[in-house]
């Protein structure tokens, strides 16, 4: 039996004494594509940071490929897990290429320069994300969609088996949201990269991920396919308010919409 890529056992975590996650257990198989859902403050980002080792659980354990992540050095962790944050502020005018090169940081020695293998991985990351034409532009001057793409390229250059993404579609317009998620799905399928993404948008999560995990009340409230998790009563319990779940055709992903209190007028205004 193959080991899980990520395994959390009874993980608890508190920020300044306020519990965020308690007794949470989760297994993610290799090459799986999983979306973390939940209302604001339900601990999606915290969970990602626990997996990546930036935060340490107050109790419980986290295993990566069967090894305790607390026993692995920062550098080694960074070789197996790459994180795409919501955004980062770069005070310097780095070019896109220079930002992507930073993805090789965990593989470089203190004094060494980029090897031909490093350069090859950087080129591959540039190509896979389609940022060739903007690689000489200044990162700070890119649009939101371009930035996200470059950040994913940087994570790819890291050559890790696990890719964590924190709200990868936030602040993108709708077709850029599709572009970024298509890229993530493609990388997951063609390269077998394990993907865990915190998602705010239930509908995009349902459409692009085969497994969704709902965080609620400091733990996992539901775990399964979008069809089994995104059901009206459960969503109303988690998010509060009136929600409607529709499936537009056979086999399509469910769509969740709030129900307006006052129905819009039909026909001409």
């Amino acid at each position: 039996m193959s080991m899980s890529a990520i395994q959390l056992e009874n993980v608890c975590f508190a920020y300044n004494g306020r519990p965020v996650l308690s007794e949470l257990s989760l297994q993610v198989k290799r090459a799986e594509r999983l979306a973390l859902l939940g209302p604001n403050g339900s601990g999606k980002s915290t969970l990602l940071k626990l997996i990546s080792g930036i935060l340490t659980p107050s109790s419980g354990r986290i295993l990566l490929d069967g090894r305790r992540s607390s026993a692995v050095s920062r550098r080694e962790l960074a070789r197996s897990i790459a994180m795409v944050p919501q955004d980062f502020v770069v005070p310097f005018s780095f070019t896109v290429r220079e930002i992507i090169e930073l993805g090789r940081t965990p593989h470089l020695t203190r004094w060494g320069n980029y090897s031909s293998l490093d350069r090859q991985f950087i080129d591959e990351a540039v190509e896979a994300t389609g940022v060739m034409d903007i690689s000489h532009r200044i990162f700070n001057q890119l649009s939101g969609g371009e930035r996200r793409r470059v950040m994913i390229a940087m994570a790819l250059a890291q050559k890790s088996d696990i890719l964590l993404l924190d709200e990868p579609t936030q602040q993108l317009d709708i077709s850029r949201q599709g572009d970024v998620l298509n890229l993530i799905v493609e990388l997951n399928i063609t390269r077998g990269i394990t993907v865990v993404a915190a998602m705010h948008d239930l509908n995009l999560a349902a459409r692009y991920f085969d497994r969704v995990v709902m965080l609620h009340r400091q733990s996992i409230a539901a775990d399964g396919t979008p069809h089994t998790v995104l059901v009206p009563d459960f969503l109303a319990d988690v998010y509060g308010g009136q929600l409607e779940v529709r499936t537009f055709r056979e086999g399509a992903s469910p769509v969740v919409l709030p129900i307006p209190r006052v129905a819009p007028r039909e026909g001409k205004p």
């Binding site: 960074a78 070019t95 220079e98 940081t105 389609g130 903007i134 200044i138 793409r149």
Partner: protein
């Protein structure tokens, strides 16, 4: 509706008209190797020039031959006086080499502090070293005994001690629960520096009773290369070259840290450990520079910015190029400080500000894009 994944190369390919020609949008674009070797040659030329010009007239050819003979590269017959050779090798050259070390050390320290604190206004003195050094100098004048450590008098020695202690104190004060926040560190450094320099001002006010040599203190605060012997050069060189070489090992950490502490950790950088090391190395460079030249301002602030404008912010290029540029700049500024108002010397700190300011403003205006640090 087509839900199948599109080809990975998406519709953004043609969004910009940027050329794939190796040219960046930074306005200037000079390759690292070309820049590095040009600067090395410029530094050597500046040093030969500075060893030639002075109160005693010596021909440029003579300086070049003396230096080449000394380096064992040529064996030209001696056509010059012993006095000329002594002036070049024992009087001017130690000072020129010290100026290059101090300038290089300050510019490198500035680049390190700007990088690790992610702040464009950071300079070598940002975490309290200037206040510590100034107070150390004042106390040194107060004691005014004639002891010397490794060829240095009491003022440079106590400045060094003051600078190192102030930096260590600022770091300790900003540590909360084993971690340092960059903002707390900046504020702690600033507050500490202010307190220390006002203690120094208090000493100056009490001067009547304490008989402080204000002229010496003032010259020290404005900065000026005070190195006169090779022993002193060796001490400064040992400190600055060691700290400088070690600092190069952190270039990639600095790059990662520019994305923020969390992202740097995601890239495998032990952030807290590397930050302590960088602050220690930067403070060591600053303190060593203070020993050789007092509190020379502006070099450490503007040289790294000027280098970034031309070569970009990537630290494995920025650090060595800043050190070289700082060295050239201070060798030339020190030369001017010696020859502008003979037989007196102008404090070099005045020149670094008067020369560096306009050059930097020109670069800032010339770059096509808004400068984003």
């Amino acid at each position: 509706m087509n839900l199948k994944a599109k080809p990975i190369v998406g519709p953004w390919r043609c969004e910009t008209g940027a050329q794939i020609s190796g040219k960046t949008e930074r306005g200037f674009n000079v390759g690292f190797h070309l820049g590095f070797w040009t600067l090395v040659l410029l530094l050597l030329a500046a040093m030969v020039l500075a060893a030639t010009v002075g109160a005693t007239h010596i021909q440029l050819k003579v300086t070049a031959l003396v230096l080449l003979n000394r380096a064992g590269l040529t064996h030209a017959p001696r056509t010059w006086s012993t006095a000329a050779e002594t002036i070049i090798l024992e009087i001017r050259l130690p000072r020129v080499v010290a100026a290059s070390l101090v300038g290089g050390g300050l510019a490198l320290a500035g680049a390190l502090f700007q990088g690790v604190l992610r702040n464009p206004l950071a300079d070598p003195y940002v975490i309290g070293t200037s206040g510590g050094a100034a107070l150390g100098a004042a106390v040194g004048l107060l004691i005014s005994t004639h002891f010397s450590v490794l060829g240095f008098g009491v003022v440079p020695t106590l400045s060094f001690v003051g600078a190192v202690c102030a930096a260590a104190a600022a770091y300790q004060l900003s540590k909360v629960g084993g971690r340092t926040s960059v903002v707390t560190l900046l504020l702690a450094g600033f507050a500490l520096s202010v307190v220390l320099s006002y203690i120094m001002s208090l000493l100056m006010i009490l001067n009547d009773r304490l008989q402080l040599n204000l002229r010496v203190l003032y010259a020290w605060l404005l900065g000026g290369i005070s190195v006169t012997s090779w022993t002193q050069v060796e001490v400064i060189a040992a400190l600055i070259l060691t700290a400088g070489t070690l600092a190069m090992a952190f270039a990639r950490s600095l790059n990662a840290m520019s994305l923020g502490d969390e992202m740097a950790a995601h890239l495998g950088v032990p952030v807290e450990r590397d930050r302590v090391a960088l602050l220690a190395l930067g403070s060591m460079l600053t303190a060593a520079a203070v020993v050789g030249g007092g509190l020379i301002g502006f070099v450490g602030l503007i040289i790294p910015h000027a280098v970034r404008l031309v070569f970009g912010p990537e630290h494995s290029r920025l650090l060595p190029l800043s050190a070289l540029t700082g060295a050239i700049f201070l060798v030339l500024a020190d030369l001017l400080s010696r020859i502008l108002i003979p037989p007196n010397e102008l404090p070099v700190g005045i020149l670094t500000a008067l020369l560096g300011g306009p050059i930097f403003l020109y670069l800032l205006r010339r770059s096509k894009q808004e400068y984003r640090f």
